[in-house]
């Protein structure tokens, strides 16, 4: 068994990012879209950690700490909005949330 190289990590990261992106593009449930967004963030942190590990510097790791902190705050706000949205509209389906258009 060969050990994992940087390419593997970047590949995994790109796959995760693509999965997240397509989820955002295609899914209709706000919660799922939101989770896919988080997935994209995590994919980027994975890449950063990998770069940090293989370059032998701490830059990427420091970045990840900031991203995690911001992501936690963002999730708190985002989830709160979604809960409030559901209470107000009884739905979190994206194609039904179009009152600005109509």
């Amino acid at each position: 068994m060969t050990s994992a190289t940087l390419d593997h990590y970047v590949l995994i990261s790109a796959l995760l990012f693509a999965i997240g992106l397509f989820g955002v593009l295609l899914r209709r449930n706000t919660l799922v879209v939101f989770m896919c967004l988080e997935l994209m963030l995590v994919a980027s942190t994975l890449a950063l950690v990998a770069f940090s590990r293989f370059n032998g510097t701490m830059d990427g790791n420091v970045f990840v700490f900031f991203i995690l902190t911001v992501a936690a705050a963002e999730v708190a706000v985002g989830l709160a909005i979604i809960v409030a949205l559901f209470r107000k509209r009884q739905t979190i389906q994206l194609n039904e949330l179009n009152s600005l258009k109509n």
Partner: protein, 627 residues
């Protein structure tokens, strides 16, 4: 108080009066009339004090500075200004007093007297102005007050048309005036009359034929010379006292006054133009006056004709002022023109104001009948008006030893010395002047009444007759230069006077033309309800009428057929290019963009993510230099 503060006071006073009337007295005509008339009385008194006090001064203060251009407001009070000031003050007071009676029952009395006050302010501004910019400002204000007062009875279509015509005709002339001021500033670096005079004495003045000609355009408009004279006869739609003050004695004379102010800028070629313009106007207007049946229109054309005399006198006097012949002869000759023009302006102001107020008295007595063929026999019914009007007529036709006799002789003598063609034409004009004035006088006052209004005519009150008597006295004595206090010598010492055989020739000519014209007027015209000339020589009458209407016809044709078509043509392009292509086109393009952008707004979050992605890709392509 110094004389300068007197001058400032006399200038500001009518403005204050007008402001008070406009702000507080709009509904109370009686109070407005009192305020305005008291102001006029104060102006008359202070004017006389200022003139008699032998102090002449100049003073100016900077008003605004635009780069290197300094516009200042100031006073230039010399003998010329003093004379003009006294004329404006005295005639102004007479007209105010007359208006008290004439406009007594007018519903818009406050507006009328406010207009008179603002006119007095504007006119005094012209008199005092020490530079051309300031003169231009007050020049325009005078035009405005003239517009307001002609338009006093604005519910009458003819009055409102006449006021617009007067304003527009004056604008044409004023544009030339403005060009002249700009050009004078450009070439000489100053428009101050004092500095220009100083430069003239120091021989550093830059001469150009165009400067005096452009400035003369202003006089052509304001003093109603050919070809911008058309507004003055129509301006008779205004109340009669206004015609007396503005359109006979003062405002229309402002053009002559302005010419005298700028005579240092004159060059021979420009003076030739001025002389011939004046002569042509004098003759043309006299011919027009013969066929008029409206008492005020006869006087209006007579005013035009007399203004033509003054302009011709100004142009004549300076005729031989070539800059080749040394300075001594140059100044003397120019001053002769100024002297003759200002002398005639003075006497004319008195006797023409007298006749206009007399016609006002007649119109008032005949219940606003203005047709002289419906008058007649007023001699016994309105004796005071008759006698004062007779003095006015005698003065204008040059009856010996009355005001007009001396001033007209001065002009005729000047013409006799300088240019025999002009002399002949002016003498012919003098014949016509006596003809139409005697015709007017006979039809109005002699014979028997030809309408009910005339047979029930009556003399007006004291406010109507007192100014007539006062002006009649002035018309009797104003021709004697000895009558004037010595303070006007700066003007009057330049009046040309004939001596020896010249004196005899001028005297005989003057008497002859007066006698011939007056006899034709007296014996040819019969006291009938129709024009004797139209009855006996209809061809001549029709020709004169057509001649009179030629200018109005030409302007009408120009406006309706040429200007209007050109305007339509330009309007077409405006519609297509400006309004169509540029305004509508730009708006349409932006609207189209908006339509496209609106299509992107689908209301679906997923779609927005796609746009976001495309945007990101575009940004990336741009950043990498692919795009």
């Amino acid at each position: 108080m110094t004389m300068l503060s007197h001058a400032i006071f006399v200038l500001i006073l009518p403005l204050v009066s007008a402001a008070i009337i406009a702000l507080f007295l709009r509904r109370s005509g009686g109070a407005a009339a009192a305020v305005s008339t008291l102001t006029a009385a104060a102006i008359a008194v202070i004017s006389v004090i200022l003139a008699l006090h032998n102090e002449r001064f100049t003073a100016s203060t900077e008003w605004m500075r635009l780069g290197g251009l300094v516009i200042s407001l100031g006073f230039k009070f010399d003998d010329l200004a003093a004379l003009m000031l006294v004329i404006v003050g005295i005639v102004g007071l007479c007209v105010h007093v007359f208006s008290l009676g004439y406009m007594h029952d007018d519903p818009a009395k406050a507006r009328y007297f406010g207009g008179l006050s603002i006119f007095m302010f504007s006119m005094l501004g012209i008199v005092f102005a020490d530079n051309l910019f300031m003169m231009f400002i007050f020049w325009e204000l005078v035009g405005f007050s003239s517009y307001v007062l002609i338009n006093h009875w604005h519910e009458k279509q003819s009055a409102s048309d006449a006021s617009k015509k007067a304003f527009i005709a004056n604008r044409v002339g004023d544009f030339g005036f403005l060009l002249g001021i700009v050009m004078c500033y450009w070439l000489n670096g100053t428009v101050s009359l004092t500095e220009l005079a100083a430069k003239g004495e120091a021989h550093t003045l830059v001469f150009s034929t165009l400067i005096p000609l452009f400035l003369f355009c202003g006089a052509v408009g304001k003093s109603a010379q050919l070809p911008l004279h058309v507004w003055l006869p129509d301006a008779m739609e205004g109340p009669t006292p206004v015609s007396a003050l503005i359109h006979a004695a003062t405002m229309v004379a402002a053009g002559i006054y302005m010419l005298c102010r700028i005579n240092v800028l004159m060059v021979p070629a420009a003076l030739d133009v001025i002389m011939w313009t004046g002569t042509a106007t004098a003759l043309y207007a006299a011919l027009c006056a013969i066929t008029q049946s409206d008492i005020k229109k006869v006087l209006a054309y007579s005013t035009l004709s007399q203004l033509g005399f003054m302009v011709a006198a100004f142009g004549l006097g300076s005729l031989s002022s070539t800059h080749l012949h040394g300075t001594e002869a140059h100044t003397v000759v120019i001053a002769a023109g100024v002297g003759a023009a200002m002398f005639h302006l003075t006497t004319h102001a008195f006797f023409k104001a007298l006749m206009f107020l007399g016609s006002g008295s007649v119109i008032h007595g005949c219940h606003h009948e203005q047709d002289i063929f419906k008058m007649g026999g007023l001699r016994t019914r309105m004796p005071l008006t008759f006698w004062t009007f007779t003095i006015g007529v005698a003065a204008i036709i040059g009856f010996p030893y009355l005001a007009g006799f001396f001033s007209k002789d001065a002009i005729l003598y000047l013409a006799f010395e300088k240019n025999s063609a002009v002399f002949a034409l002016l003498a012919l004009t003098a014949v016509l002047t006596s003809l139409y004035m005697v015709r007017l006088w006979k039809l109005t006052f002699l014979g028997t009444p030809r309408s009910d209004h005339a047979s029930h005519a009556h003399e007006g009150g004291l406010t109507l007759t007192l100014p007539l008597v006062f002006l009649a006295v002035l018309s009797l004595v104003a021709g004697y230069t000895a009558f004037y206090p010595n303070v006007f010598s700066g003007v009057f010492e330049h009046i040309p006077e004939a001596h020896g055989s010249d004196h005899t020739i001028i005297f005989i000519t003057s008497l002859g033309v007066m006698a011939v014209g007056a006899s034709i007027g007296y014996f040819f015209y019969k006291s009938t309800p129709t024009d004797t000339l139209a009855d006996k020589v209809p061809g001549l009458f029709a020709a004169l009428s057509a001649f009179r209407n030629a200018f109005d016809g030409a302007y009408g044709y120009y406006v309706a057929k040429i200007q209007q078509r050109f305007a339509l043509f330009v309007n077409f392009f405006e519609q297509i290019f400006l309004a169509g292509l540029i305004v509508r086109g730009l708006a349409g393009f932006v609207g189209l963009c908006g339509l496209g952008a609106r299509a992107l707004h689908v209301g679906n979050l997923n779609a927005y993510v796609y746009w976001f992605l495309f945007g990101l890709v575009a940004l990336w392509l741009f950043a990498t230099g692919v795009l």
